[in-house]
Amino acid sequence: MQNPHLSKISRRRFFYYGFAGLAGLTGAGLTRYLPGTSWAAKTEDGIMVEDAVYQGIRESLGKYIYLTPQKLGGGTHAVDLGTQKTLSWISYWNYGDSCPISHHLAAFYADSGDPYKGFEFINSTQGGDNVLMYGLKTRIKENGMLGKHGMGNNIYRVGYDGKTGQMELLENIAETTGIGLGVHTVPFPDGNGFACGDGQKDVVGFFSRARGQDKTKVLTAFRGDWAPNSKTLADTWTKGGTIRLTRLAPGKDGKYDYFGTKGNKINYEMAPMAELLVERGQTPGDSPHTLTGLDFCLHDPRNRYSIAALRMCGGGFVIDRTTMEPICYLMANEGLADNWPVKKVSGNPDAWEVTLPSVGNPIHETGFNPSGNHLVMMNNLRANNVAVFDSSSDDPRAWKRVTFVKDKEWVGEYPSPFHVNFSIDGSKCFFTVLRPKPMKSDVYVVSTKDWKVMKKFRNVGVDTQTTATTYDGKYALIIFSGFQRMESGAFVFRQDTLEQVGYMPNFGGHHDCVIVPSKVEEMKFSRSCTV
């Protein structure tokens, strides 16, 4: 017998069924809000932790030019962040360099106020022999390409001309001056010169700024040397010694004698976190036991003082650029005094010394905040923390270490806080946090109010390196180089909200990056005050 309720559907029943159906649909729709089906973001110990999301960038990042060297690719290219297309590029092979390893770079502000019309930048190339460290099945040495024209340590000054849309090599400053250096190039905050260092030679040079076809001049140059207390290589730094900083003098021809590989204490660079390989005897070289690791010199945004950092010696000299003499020595190691006096021991040549009882661990990248009242310096490999100095005093001898940025994950040799930069408003500090292969590295955001970690971007990319911030305060760009031969790219997030924006492609294993400033006021947010 037919069920009368099924055989006759009244309008009310029809509505009832309809409502039941709608309720079912609504309920089904609500299932998406049920908990536990997302792992995008979470909080650990009060810190926002977020996995990087692999997505492209769907918005313009502003009218900026983003410069990225290709390291083993042998050149540099400029990306228009507004359109994310390559604006121009240069390859140093084409200029007769038979092994250019385009390493670090920094741009001067555009004289016209518009980088798209033209600008100049300084690009160092690493020592040519470093190409042998990556296991390439290369015949580059057999073919004689690491000889006279492939030694590396060139300092190229390059101009971009907006009219032609091309880059042109303007000057090899290493040839002009006789000082060949291959690591950080750091312009002065006023844009009137730059410093360049090299931790294989322990030499840092201060250079004037030349424009166009003019030639660059050396303002002064120093060499660092370590005189260890122990004769055992393994104890060379941990048991203390004396640092001597010597002013270098040019020869009769006006040039210095540090061209190419001349002056190398070790044959290969200390790759990030490779400082301990030196004391373990795994780095060949003429005199590794005298190594200070003078890799870079960056500048106080107030434009008077510079920090010549010595990786192996756990700190850096404060150089007064008005006199070009060291003032004091800042030490990042926890448990040791933070500010050491420097004694001038010779006037011909000028030489200064500071004696340290021990070096607990090496330091690496360093940076001033935009106002200059704080300086941060990485303690790597043993302590794995970040020393924070109060640098607000006009007298660097009064600069004091006030705290350390620490994180429970920063234990052992890795992961290590690495490169540093600040948000344009100075409220946040951005650290790349390096993990060894095959791990993907992170980016940490630290509040400059209390120097506590406030956010972690995890799994950003293999081998995260330097950061750049757009000068409108909107975006931060983190470049990662994939240890030169693996995945590379640039991870972008917002400076203000710390929301992820996405990834930009980058070609060639970039190791460094900088956004070209349009005016002198932007220099302090550029590669002048942080590395």
């Binding site: 099924l6 069924y17 089904a28 040799e413």
Partner: protein, 469 residues
């Protein structure tokens, strides 16, 4: 007797291909609040148009119209619609019952549409249907009812709101004599008992004979006419009809609806769509629940894999710790394993190790001694370094010298990472390559210095860890 309806000089003209036709031409009329007015006339005389104008279903081209003192022509369409729904009832030539609704639903519809309480609407509908002798057929669909029964349902619907004016358009047309008598009987009762104004258009004398006043309509004009004489049998017939509405079919209780005829497609179609909606809802809902459950399971599985991957790639460090030449080309080395997260415990199976040296651009395998690596054992990875030994002998006649005097050696380690010691659940396999340069033991340090152009006394490492690549 107060007038319920006042019409003054109503006119309505229709354009045609042959010119305009005045369907209603200057009609003036008043209907009292209990008056029954009938308008007679031939087809096409304008009766229906007049009723449409009085019922505000059509708008006159000119004239004035009031219902209970309200100027109907000045009201907005919305207000007019609401007033019409509550104060005017219609019983038209066609019943216009909705076929998908029962008699009770049809009768209650005006109240429901007016937004009244459905229970009140249904109560009134039941009362009217009972009053009209339909108490046994509430659940019947229109197609199951006779013509007279359908007309009674339509009348119940018209009376739902107890209107002030009931408009009838040929209410007994197309009815058989018995059904006609039923309707006439009802109207007579309404006239006598419900105190309602009735305006009926008809061309039949039977209906007109009930009216208090009969008007004649011709060519759109209205004139007073004689009250027709009632048929001789009307009273007798009416007297016997009062109790003789069509009897409720035997065996049909009010709550037991009659089965819809199989030949009528509308009932089954409604059922089909209702069932379809219900079925789709159930299927869709079930699908979503299943999808959610599956997504939860997938998420849980992915989360486990993610955790395993996180352990493998974020917390497990493995690299070469030491390499020592022991003479005769024999080399002993240690790989270290380290847990970078002191809060987490995890285990690995392995590592299974292989070694290669580079010659002519190719990776030539190096046989490892027994005991190298640890392919069969599950071990916990500790925050302190755990060493995994390996040993081999290498004295190749030819090898690639990326750095002169050094072998280019690659170790490959494969590990399976698990959160648990029994290695159940989701596991993650990690494979690493570790590259070193190893000094050829057949060369002295001075030979190496010489071949590389290094200065006398410079450091000649017995082995070099290479940057990750």
């Amino acid at each position: 007797m107060n007038p319920v309806l006042r019409a003054h000089n109503l006119s309505r003209v229709y354009p045609t291909r042959r010119g305009t036709v005045a369907a209603v031409d200057g009609v003036s009329l008043e209907i009292g609040n209990t008056e029954f007015v009938a308008v007679c006339g031939r087809s096409g005389s304008g009766k229906s148009t007049l009723m449409a104008l009085l019922g505000t279903l059509a708008r006159p081209d000119q004239g004035a119209l009031e219902l209970e003192g309200t100027d109907l022509l000045s009201l907005s369409p919305g207000k007019l619609s609401r007033l019409r729904a509550k104060r005017i009832g219609f019983l038209l030539q066609t019943n216009s019952l909705l076929p998908g609704l029962t008699a009770l639903d049809n009768a209650a519809l005006p109240g429901i549409l007016a937004g009244e309480n459905p229970d009140s609407s249904y109560d009134r509908a039941r009362q009217w249907l009972t009053r009209l002798g339909m108490e046994g057929r509430w659940d019947a669909f229109p197609q199951e009812l006779s013509g007279g029964q359908q007309r009674r349902v339509a009348l119940a619907r018209a009376l739902q709101h107890s209107p002030a004016l009931l408009l009838l358009d040929e209410p007994t047309s197309n009815l058989d004599p018995r059904a006609e008598e039923e309707i006439l009987h009802l109207l007579r009762e309404l006239r006598d008992e419900r105190k309602i104004a009735i305006f009926a258009v008809t061309h039949g004398d039977n209906l007109a004979s009930l009216a208090d006043r009969v008007l004649q309509m011709s060519a759109g004009r209205l004139t007073e006419g004689a009250v027709p004489r009632a048929p001789a049998k009307r009273s007798e017939h009416a007297a016997v009809l009062v109790p003789v509405f069509e009897a409720v079919p035997a065996g049909l209780a009010p709550s037991a609806p009659t089965a819809a005829p199989e030949s009528d497609w509308r009932g089954p179609l409604s059922f089909f769509f209702a069932t379809l909606v219900l079925g789709i809802s159930l299927v869709f809902g079930f699908d979503r629940v299943v999808a959610w459950t599956q997504s939860r399971q997938l998420w849980a599985r992915e989360e486990k894999k993610r955790v395993a991957e996180e352990i493998a790639f974020r917390h497990l460090r493995a690299d070469m710790e030491s390499v020592q030449a022991k003479g005769q080309g024999r080399v002993e080395a240690d790989l270290f394993l380290q847990n970078y997260d002191p809060t987490r415990t995890f285990f690995i199976l392995g590592p299974s190790l292989r070694a290669f040296y580079q010659a002519d651009g190719r990776w030539e395998p190096i046989p490892l001694e027994d005991g190298s690596g640890n392919a069969e054992t599950i071990r916990e990875v500790l925050p302190t370094k755990t060493l995994v030994p390996l040993a081999f002998t290498l004295l190749p006649a030819k090898y690639d010298e990326l750095i002169r005097g050094y072998f280019h050696i690659r170790f490959t380690g494969t590990m399976v990472v698990s959160e648990t010691r029994d290695a159940t659940g989701d596991l993650f396999e990690r494979q690493d390559d570790y590259y070193i340069y190893l000094k050829d033991p057949r060369l002295t340090d001075d030979q190496v210095r010489q071949r590389n152009g290094w200065k006398p006394g410079s450091v000649v490492p017995p082995w070099m860890a290479m940057p990750s690549h």
